[in-house]
């Protein structure tokens, strides 16, 4: 009873209640309703008349929708490319930043700037830059004596192009996280390694990397989750083309729901995406579990 009358407890309760109410209304409830849509033949105008169809929608998208598998393949390709690009590049930048003595915050500010710019604005900008005829990228390639690229209009180059945009946009945030992780490594361990005659590479491999593993794990998981849900950049840059070369699973969901008004199918494919992200994340947590601690 004394706890309940404690003003600090009351304050905390009020704040938590507000936040939890928000999450329940705008996060958990939509997820539950989404699953309900996924197992019914959802009638948007008369939801109460929606018939239960069980797993029929899942069976339909797995067996009767070739486009679904096209979107899955493209999404996985995109996620792998973004991961392989983001983590090493962000780590290199973070390592360099951690070494900087003066002006580190200015460099971080400059690297973080793309993160705060709207993805829609970024995508429109890159559409101009990557225009095969008028874009500055091809002018730069020609000036360097290299052959021009088709960028967003080529079947293979389109995927690389949207990955480049994703890297440019997302690197800053990951660099800041990794830099913070690097700066938290105890300096004494570097001194000890130096005294023991360890080279820079061995210091990095045996001291820095293990102690950075938790932060690296966080970055990899966040990048994976974000890249598997890609929508805005692919939609604005290529609209899933050319020839469905960049057609992602999120576009499949949006098209099924808002173009074809098949909300049941859309919800089931969104649910499949949710389960896939959950499984991949759990696998990442398991596989990157560190067997030892300093």
């Amino acid at each position: 009873m004394r706890t309940l009358r404690n003003p600090q407890f009351q304050f905390g309760f009020v704040v938590l209640a507000l936040v939890l109410t928000w999450y329940v209304l705008f996060s958990f409830r939509p997820v539950v309703l989404g699953f309900k849509m996924a197992v019914t033949d959802y009638d948007l105008l008369n939801p109460a008349d929606s018939k239960l169809v069980g797993l029929q929608h899942f069976e339909t998208i797995f067996n009767k929708y070739k486009l679904f598998w096209v979107s899955v393949r493209n999404t996985i390709t995109y996620a792998v490319m973004v991961n392989l690009g983001t983590v090493p590049i962000a780590l290199v930048f973070a390592y360099c930043l951690a070494k900087v003595a003066n002006g580190r915050s200015w460099y971080q500010w400059a690297l973080f700037l793309p993160v705060v710019v709207s993805m829609a604005a970024v995508a429109l900008l890159f559409r101009f830059l990557m225009d095969p005829g008028l874009g500055i990228f091809n002018h730069a390639l020609k000036a360097a004596g290299l052959p021009p690229s088709r960028w967003l209009t080529g079947p293979r180059s389109a995927m690389y192009s949207i990955v480049i945009v994703a890297l440019w946009k997302g690197l800053g945030g990951n660099i800041v996280i990794l830099t913070a992780g690097l700066l938290n490594v105890p300096r004494e361990l570097y001194d000890v390694a130096k005294v023991d005659g360890a080279s820079s590479w061995k210091t990095f491999w045996y001291v820095t990397l293990p102690l950075l593993s938790h932060v690296l794990k966080l970055v990899m998981i966040l990048v994976t989750i974000g890249s598997l849900q890609v929508y805005t950049s692919a939609m604005i840059l290529t609209r899933g083309g050319p020839g469905r070369a960049t057609y992602m699973i999120s576009q499949f969901v949006v098209e099924e729901a808002f173009t074809h008004l098949r909300f049941g199918l859309a919800s089931s494919s969104a649910f499949v995406l949710f389960l896939a992200i959950l499984v991949i994340t759990l696998m990442q947590l398991r596989l990157t579990r560190v067997g030892w601690e300093y």
């Binding site: 948007l44 009767k64 929708y65 070739k66 079947p155 020839g243 173009t259 074809h260 008004l261």
Partner: protein, 471 residues
């Protein structure tokens, strides 16, 4: 001694700063003035089959119109509303919406808020009809005013509003893609190739594809470094309509309405794809895959000829600094034989099932069925192919001897040979994605003609199977 900030003071200050920042960042609401041209008095025209509508007195009644957020459309809605108010006294509120409109309708209905009249493209209403979200108008509108729809309207505009044996709206636009080639007259004259542009030689359109390609080649521009500065031709934007039209000219429909089969695996489909994509891009080098639609690329000077849109002449005058763009009929795949076309239909008006003022809305649709309503709509974009056959011959709308008048007349020639996709194959939007994607894959070199058509045939059959199973 410095005083520490209490939690309460911090929270109050943060809330005040946050509210002030939000207020300061709120966008200024700029009321855009809609300019409504002075209404032209419509001369009473006696046209065979003309519907007889007697305007009722609806004074004091109000209704809501939804339509596309695009200046030519908004201005047209206001003109139509003003005419309807003159006849009946009912006042309209026009609320333009972003594309796609059908989403606004369905979500509006789910929330209990929907317009009384909606201007929407015919093929987009298919999922709404499937959800029973639209009123059938055969009896409510056409029978009530004695309109024989099969003679009053052209097939392509009307069929886009006909599903499951009923008509679900009033078309106002015929089809204005797939049957036309837009030619920049200034450029043609500058290059001295007037003899290759059919309208300047007394012809409505190109005799064959070779004629069009010859002109495109003459207009293509290459810079000193050997790069193409202006492509001769572009068909970007409405691929599948071109494909289906060429197939139809060759004697094979892409969709057999009787036997319910697709024919993307036919010899005619192969030949059509060759003419549309392979020859101009890979053999002649007069075309390439561009991101933008052909019409936009033409305005930007990236391409010379656009296999584009019948309204390009009117649109160019307002949106391309007065650029003079003409219409010629798209070439025939068999020289000497008339070219035939398949189109996507066009815009028109529907009444949502949950309209709050259905009586006023139905009267509005009756008005839109009349010659006056159809003609007023046809003024959009500076001139448009009407769904109404009689309006396309209107001398005041398309005066002979004027630039726009002659261009739209030729557009009307093509429209008379155009039919709609068909029906009972599933969702038109889904079909368009599948078939346009097939053409695109060939255009970018991602697939051969055989591969792309085989994949499209497979996906269409999969779509039809789901449709038949009720998915």
């Amino acid at each position: 001694m410095s005083r520490k900030l209490s939690r309460r003071e911090f929270l109050l200050s943060a809330a005040a700063v946050g509210a002030g920042t939000l207020a300061a960042c709120a966008p200024k609401v700029i009321e855009k003035e809609v300019v409504v041209e002075k209404l032209v008095e419509v001369e009473v025209v006696r046209v065979a089959g003309q519907p007889a509508w007697t305007p009722p007195d609806l004074s004091g009644q109000e209704y809501l119109i939804w339509g596309l957020q695009y200046d030519p459309h908004v201005e047209t809605y206001h003109r139509l509303a003003e005419r309807f108010e003159k006849h009946t006294g009912a006042k309209a509120t026009v609320e333009p919406l972003g594309w796609p409109i059908e989403n606004h309708i369905i979500t509006g209905m789910a929330a209990g808020l929907v317009a009384d009249v909606v201007c929407i493209v015919g093929k987009q209403i298919f999922p709404l009809v499937a959800e029973e979200a639209v009123l059938a108008v055969d009896e409510l509108v056409y029978d009530a005013i004695g309109c024989d729809v099969d003679t009053w309207f052209g097939p392509v505009g009307l069929q886009a509003y006909q599903y499951f044996g009923k008509t679900w709206g009033v078309p106002t636009e015929g089809n204005n893609v797939s049957g036309f080639v837009n030619g920049p007259l200034d450029l043609i004259e500058e290059e001295g190739v007037e003899d290759l542009w059919p309208p300047l030689n007394g012809e409505d359109g190109f005799k064959g594809f070779e004629n069009m390609w010859e002109l495109a080649d003459a207009l293509q521009k290459v810079d000193n470094a050997g790069n193409v500065a202006r492509w001769g031709l572009s068909s970007e934007g409405w691929h599948n309509r071109h494909l289906f039209g060429i197939m139809r000219t060759l004697g094979r429909d892409w969709w057999d309405q009787e036997s319910h089969t697709f024919h993307l695996d036919s010899d005619e489909a192969y030949e059509a794809m060759q003419l549309l994509a392979v020859v101009p891009i890979f053999e002649l080098g007069i075309e390439t895959h561009l991101e933008e639609a052909a019409t936009r690329s033409q305005f930007a000077g990236k391409v010379a000829l656009a296999c584009g849109n019948a309204t390009q002449p009117g649109t160019a005058l307002t949106e391309a600094d007065g650029m003079r763009v003409d219409n010629a009929v798209y070439p025939s795949a068999i020289p000497g034989r008339e070219a035939l076309f398949v189109g996507e239909g066009g815009w028109g008006f529907i009444v949502p099932a949950q309209a709050k003022n259905p009586d006023v809305a139905i009267e509005f649709l009756k008005f839109m069925t009349t010659y006056e309503g159809q003609k007023e709509y046809a003024r959009i974009y500076g001139g448009n192919t009407s769904a109404c056959n009689a309006v396309n011959d209107d001398a005041e709308l398309y005066p002979e001897g004027t630039f726009i008048g002659d261009a739209m007349r030729r557009a009307g020639v093509a429209q008379k040979r155009t039919i709609y996709y068909g029906s009972e194959f599933g969702n038109p939007s889904e079909m368009e994605e599948i078939t346009s994607s097939a053409v695109e894959k060939v255009r970018i070199g991602e697939a051969t003609t055989e591969e792309a058509l085989a994949e499209a045939q497979e996906l269409l059959e999969e779509m039809l199977k789901r449709w038949n199973e009720g998915a």
